[in-house]
Symmetry: D2
Subunit: 261 residues, 4 copies
């Protein structure tokens, strides 16, 4: 069974900072945001976690295996490199959405995201369990023949709108139906941190998106003790979808041989 | 009247590169993508342009005032710093979507985005006009009381889904109705490059989004010879929305005094 | 005749900041310093200037063609991206060392580098002249057969000590004899911003270094309206040194054909 | 007794790459070099190591506690983010210079640094020992009253030359006398990885530098199981030098109470 540790990193008082004493250059903000995300992705990634852009001022990461001390170090690094600080909440549950609820609750308990006094909160409610090889499930989606169907035919924007539409449809469906959390990761790729659901349920998700948005997705599903392991397993499964022209493939670490490649 | 110069920067053969010889670490890809975007935002931004994350492997930028030589320099910098190269198309039109069609057409004429032989194309169909003070219109949207309504009440993900929903609704509406292009820029902020439309038409766009997604947006609209000028004008207009609790404010550089603050 | 514009960028109150409230992580400082330098090199370089690491908390740049407004923009970018701010002084003279004296004087007039109240000074005493094709002279030195003599034979550190020795000898000689400023730029490369001196004087400098440190250097000298032009001319001249096994080569833009390749 | 693990990271075939097919923009190279160093410093630093700029194309790091798998990961990250690759050698010895000899030997055994075929070597001869609290000794030097004596009085360059002179003098002395390795880390700061030497020997080193270069240094010496621990101990010791106006202070973790603060 999955046991997902989720981290929410929130830049303290960011909205007010962007307009104080007057609105700051938008491109300076874009550079700042992309660098903070890049640093979080690097830090988390080099410890086998996965971080997602999310809103830029809020970054969500799957952090199984990354302890409280490492989170403090990340927080200190942000303070030492940037003109802003960050608060961090960490939660843990079989269901990613519940783990994120926990992480969010810890930050909200300490005050509003725009409370000038709330700085560098660290709430860590996740130390309780020992790692196991099925803690993390990652689903890696992409759009069927995105380059042929969209990138080379539509202008860049219209293909992007189609992908975004499918993203929102999938985000809402996985969140409401299964408590999974999906994120856009660039190109035509969407990655979700998921609880343990069946291949049939993945097919149902793809059908839902196709019906609602007319965009056809496929998905590789991976399992592992860390997001990096589960994510690489998912990537290989997605490669099998490409070779076999299948819509759902489940990674080799999954115990049920009947559904494997 | 607007005369928008749009740049499409596309990483050459990126999808295949990410899985050759085998899938690369997702977090390394995230770091790479965020840095390439940061560099483009820095380069374009320090020349008064605006760049948008878009799909990460495709970056769209408004580049009025940035000439062909500067685009070549940007292309060379990507080659000198990253393991990938980039192709660049530039178009120009009163309507942003048509300018992007032009930019896209130049790249597509040179081959598929996943054609291993297509590298470092530079198509620049935009030199023809002299700058004028109303060339660029920028609309800067945000969610009404996003912190109170969403960030502090919902978990981080659910507030993000609500913002994404409103984004997709707005993207499709502005694209289809007006040929404007909207992009998520972080937090609860959406920025669009727009043709010349009336405040009433902005109200109609907000109404459409509110009806379709139940998310209430407001917008500041700015005008200028460059994206930076127009964008800063829009930010000040948006600040006036906040102070006056209005939904649409139009910047001081707009000629019609009746709609100004 | 040369007319060198030099910029001194100094991080405000940096020393005290690094130990307040207690000493900060040295590696966080190294990351911060390398990023600030990278941003300055990018900003200056994309405008045809040359920036040198120098002390990291003080960066020296040759900035012919980069005006006051661009320097202000650079200063604003530092404030918007980093936890520190920067002061900037700009001077101009035929002799680089005198131009740097001017730049330094403007900062020192505004207070000590560790005065907590001195922030974001901008002193620009350089607008007075129009560009000409011989404004900037760049000399690009490297160590003869550094890879064979040092990198592959000595351990990495001992070859580095040899290069550093030659650097200090060259720095002092060029500074005292000619008012030129030399900087280490990585590997076995040293780049100097120079006044107009003869090839014989370059030979004398190489002889001085060889006598004092037993390290044999060669040099390509370039001229141009900007540091990028002069520097590229110097690089090509240095390539000719390699092919012809000569010690001093002077670029093609130099008027005297007798000394050219 | 110290037991220092040293890593040498060398960019493969870098010199030829910088001039192929023709010399690349120097500022693009500076940006690339500073970023690669920043990434190494971040990676090593977030695992309690210390990395030093060194020659930029060769980075030396103290890496006690960082295993072979982490070094492979660092190597992969370079390949996935940059247009160049890196080879890595790791050695271990009580004396840092001997550890670096080992690390260098492993790379040289695999071919020349400019051999186009030598790519991504990883030589790791360092797994053999278990960590102990005195494995790493760090000496953190700075210039006495650098701001008053140099930064505010001399121009930026002349103060830099004075610091560089003292650096080279110290580098050679510590290397030859004790097998220690000193590196410039910015401002007026020099950090050395050292074997176990006495406070009197540090006084002798300072005397040597003062005699040879007329620059007065002071030093804080720290000890710990990792470079970060030893380095922070050294920083606190250096702060005591400042408060007590002493030249040599040894950190609290050192066993001999007689020499402590």
């Amino acid at each position: 069974m999955t046991d997902t540790q989720l981290t929410l990193l929130q830049i303290d008082n960011y909205g007010p900072w962007t307009v104080t004493p007057e609105p700051r250059s938008e491109m300076d903000l874009q550079v700042l945001q992309s660098r903070i995300f890049g640093d979080v992705a690097d830090f988390v990634g080099s410890r086998d976690g996965y971080a997602f852009v999310t809103r830029f001022d809020n970054v969500v990461a799957v952090t199984n295996g990354i302890n409280r001390a490492a989170h403090e170090r990340l927080q200190t690094s942000v303070r030492n490199r940037y003109p802003v600080t960050a608060s961090v909440g960490v939660g843990r549950d079989a269901t990613p959405a519940i783990a994120l609820d926990e992480a969010t609750a810890e930050l909200q308990a300490a005050g509003s995201a725009q409370d000038g006094d709330r700085r560098e909160v660290l709430g860590f409610a996740a130390d309780h369990s020992s790692p196991s090889p099925e803690d993390v499930r990652v689903a890696h989606f992409d759009v069927d023949d995105a380059t042929g169907e969209y990138t080379d035919r539509l202008n860049a924007y219209d293909s992007f709108v189609a992908i975004e539409r499918s993203l929102v449809s999938l985000m809402a469906y996985l969140r409401e139906r299964h408590g999974g959390l999906a994120f856009f990761v660039g190109g035509d790729n969407i990655i979700a941190t998921m609880p343990d659901i069946t291949p049939e349920e993945y097919h149902a998700a793809l059908d839902h998106v196709a019906t609602e948005t007319d965009v056809s997705l496929k998905v590789g599903v991976g399992t592992g003790p860390t997001p990096a392991d589960a994510g690489m397993d998912a990537k290989h499964a997605l490669e099998r979808c490409r070779h076999h022209e299948t819509a759902v493939e489940v990674g080799h670490e999954r115990p049920d041989p009947a559904v494997d490649d």
